[in-house]
Amino acid sequence: MDHSNYQSILDTVLQKASKAGAEHAAAVMSDDTSGTLRFAANRPTQHKTHRNTELSLAVSIAGKEAICETNLLQENDLESVAAKAVQFARNAPENPEFFPPLRQQTYTATQAWFDSTAAISIPERGEIVGEMCAHAESENTDLFGNLEVSSGFMAVANTNGLFAGQPVTEVSLSLTARTRNSNGSSQAHLWERDWNKLKYMESAERTIKVARNSVNPKPLDPGHYTVILSPKAVSEYLMFVVFAMDARMADTGQSFFGKQSNKSRLNDGCFQDIVTLKSMSDHPELPTPCFGQAFGSGGSAAGTLFSTGLPVQTTEWIENGIVKNFRYSPWYALKNNRVPIAYPFNLYMSGDSSSLDELIAEVKRGVLIESFWYVNPTDWSRLELTGLTRDGTFLIENGKITCPVNSFRFNDSPVRSLNRISGMTHPEKIYGEYWPGMFPWIRVDDFNLSSVSNAV
């Protein structure tokens, strides 16, 4: 299907919704063709390809709202889904936080589609995974992971005249290398929109090397250490900061960012002035679609669909240590005279000029952490987190990495950690659990590694 096909389907369902009685309607389509090759111990365990096209329709009648979703797209199917959504909405109570659909927006063109990615075939996926696994086999190491290649189209239209559509491609590669004695392990996550940029063999080689370096970890007691966190670990740790930066939750005292006398910490200097965290619409290494949907609590699920089509813009969340923006739903933004912000497609943390070797050289005794695992809050209102290190934990003594050590559970808060940074490198590209992004290696003093985990 091309651009006009999507627009035609969206126009049809909007017309059907209006005819059925909807006062407002917005429809969002996603068309996704993806292929996945998963492998374990150097052999494929699942190899799949699928295509699915889904349509979500939000309608409102006098502030009463409902959403219906379907993957049946013939004209009679669209009529049915429109009628059902309208019938649902008629049964809903009026939503006092109703937010009407956006009007047509102006977009800055972005490139989120690359032919190189869309052209990857089933046999090519196999060749790439086969090449990495053969290398691992030659190194007497086992490789586990997943290669996912997808291409598709996202489009939105509403009864206020908005239409936006964009083709998108993505490739992600997750790799874990484990030594045959199962006591050395390392992990890497890669993400690109352009297949030609995926340095898969380079990453496989580094992952295997780190796994081999991490074998036979020596015991190290828990305690407070200076730690150096990899970009991957930083991403895994700091995503909770962005989760907590919701305007309504802050204003109602339900997060760390709203803890002072019911006044939020917007514009407060909560972190060291070297901390800058943003989502970028124009970074050449992090190409994004040109539109998204609002990203915050308050309003309604239908309101979120009505806000789809917001232009994606660069957003500073934390600038020089000061909280600059919260996430706002469209309704809550309107109520507070703020601009709703489209869902961030990436996160970027500014770094500094140190090299990793320089960060290590200045540590008398500390721990280098390659990855975190199973990070979860223990006290959300204080942003206290727990989690574990894994896939490479190393002791630093007198400015040098001396040996691999056991993994640890940590109990600490990114609020404290982002006030105890003593060094950073330039940011590097990684694929986090929720967003692709760029993060530096950071050195944090007095980090609480609270207990030992012998898991490898």
Binding site: R43, P44, K48, R51, I67, G299, R382
Partner: protein, 482 residues
């Protein structure tokens, strides 16, 4: 072309193309989500998604393709793609997978329900959610309340080249709510703890939910001024609403054979419970017995046949404290020389490849003569009663963990006393279960559901049930709140 003809076409294609083994699954997934925040109904979603997939096994490798198909040509295309994926994988694999044997079945299975949740008037459901919220908001310090309902209906039609044809309809229903209180320096929540069943709307017990709403609000408020547990250790009495979390993380996931073999090393992790430990490893104390069961009434993972055509069943995971079983699939069971799969393949959507998921997994109640809950409390001098789920984290081999309760109270000298703030306990898996010294009798046994369990790449989620009676663990490390 109707669904039966589409499935028959896939089998014909397999025959024509002389494919070693093919299975085809059509699915129609219907979900309804209703959510109310304070006095506002902020979500009314109704979703449906239908399509078909084909999975082919060729020279020790799987290939899978899924799409929304309408014609014989569409099905032929699916088969061709799955074939291509399987042969590509076979070409790069130097260790072919082996499958356990499979019996053919022709059967129909459906979750027994009394009331189809999709046919209950929306007004009835929304009225209940709004009344729950009104009751909780009547309490001054309650800052925000949420209530919600989720209903799932999944129709699956499955065929394979050895002659199986199964039709299944699976229902799940859930209604729950939460109150959040905000004080000067704290924000605390308390949830109702719905039991969550594979059932119809009859499982939504409106009367019980309404009666409990004022209590839930009060218990959220109590935590604003509750003090933390003051010691480093405590005897823990875990209620079934909490044990579901601990069972899920420390037993269910730890005994999934795909993790044990390393197949989840890159995402969900591995496990300490490796095959050489089977039938000889002490997982817990003598009173620690665990059963897996995909046939248990109203279990969220209950069905007649798994997603690779294996009839579901019931088996022991831990017997008198010793590890005695795993969850398995057709491609993992041969690696421990098992002759058959336990029937644990599950795909969360028609676009999803079936992967190994734990069964409904439960701790057996104590034998005749075991204590009642009242007696267990009376026999505890210095402990913490833990209800509901809160913070959770466990290492990738399922050993070092840290869990919290939704609402905890001190137990002193045989009596339940004041609420405690932010109880988080920690431990190491086998030694934790070895400290279990009492489990209540069968009258006290309850089942609770877990939704949103994530595993696999691309990530799939599932829902399943864990049951237990209240049980006690001695001298567990409790984290001191800062």
């Amino acid at each position: 072309m109707n669904v039966d003809n589409l499935l028959a076409t896939a089998l014909n294609e397999a025959n024509t193309k002389k494919i070693d083994y093919l299975e085809a699954r059509w699915g129609n997934y219907c979900n309804q989500f209703l959510h109310a925040r304070d006095s506002i109904v902020d979500m009314m979603n109704d979703e449906s998604s239908a399509g078909m997939n084909v999975r082919i096994f060729h020279k020790g490798a799987w290939g899978f393709a899924a799409a929304m198909v309408k014609t014989a040509a569409d099905v032929a295309n699916l088969v061709e793609q799955a074939q291509k994926a399987a042969s590509t994988s076979a070409r790069i694999s130097n260790k072919p997978l082996i499958l356990t044997d499979l019996k053919p079945y022709q059967a129909q299975w459906q979750t027994p329900i009394q009331i189809d949740p999709f046919k209950v008037p929306l007004k009835e459901k929304l009225d209940l959610l709004q009344e729950l919220n009104r009751l909780m908001l009547a309490h001054n310090q309650i800052s925000e309340v949420s209530s919600w309902m989720r209903f799932f209906k999944t129709e699956k039609k499955y065929v394979n080249t050895i002659g199986t044809r199964t039709d299944q309809i699976i229902f799940r229903s859930d209604a729950d709510y939460r109150a959040t209180a905000v004080g000067n320096d704290r924000c605390e929540s308390r949830s109702y703890q719905s039991i969550q069943l594979s059932a119809g709307y009859e499982s939504v017990d409106a009367k019980a939910m309404l009666e409990a709403a004022p209590r839930v609000a009060r218990e959220a408020i109590e935590q604003l001024t509750a003090k933390p547990w003051s010691k480093d250790h405590a005897d823990l009495i875990l209620m079934p609403s909490h044990t579901r979390l601990v069972i899920h993380e420390t037993i269910g996931h730890a005994t999934e054979l795909d993790r044990i073999l390393g197949w989840e090393a890159d995402y969900a992790g591995t496990s300490f419970a490796t095959p050489e430990k089977l039938d000889n490893y002490r997982y817990g104390s003598n009173c620690f017995n665990v059963t897996a069961d995909r046939t248990m009434p109203h279990g969220l993972a209950t069905c007649g046949f798994d997603d690779e055509g294996v009839q579901t069943g019931r088996w022991k995971i831990v017997t008198d404290g010793i590890l005695t079983g795993y969850a398995t699939t057709r491609d993992t069971a041969p690696m421990i020389d098992a002759k058959s799969s336990c029937g644990c393949a599950y795909a969360d959507h028609w676009t999803s490849f079936p992967i190994l998921r734990m069964a409904n997994t439960s701790i057996d109640p104590g034998p005749k003569g075991s204590p009642t809950f009242k007696q267990l409390i009376e026999n505890t001098e210095n402990g913490i009663l833990v209800d509901g789920m809160a913070a959770f984290s466990i290492d990738q081999q399922r050993i070092n963990f840290q869990f919290g309760g939704d609402y905890c109270r001190a137990v002193r000298n045989g009596r339940i006393e004041e609420p405690l703030w932010n109880v988080v306990y920690e431990g190491n898996n086998p030694s934790f279960w070895s400290s279990m010294d009492a489990v209540c009798c069968s009258n006290e046994w309850r089942q609770y559901g877990v939704y949103g369990c994530a595993k696999g790449q691309p990530v799939q989620t599932t829902a399943l049930t864990h049951g237990s009676a209240p049980l006690r663990l001695r001298n567990v490390s409790v984290r001191r709140s800062s």
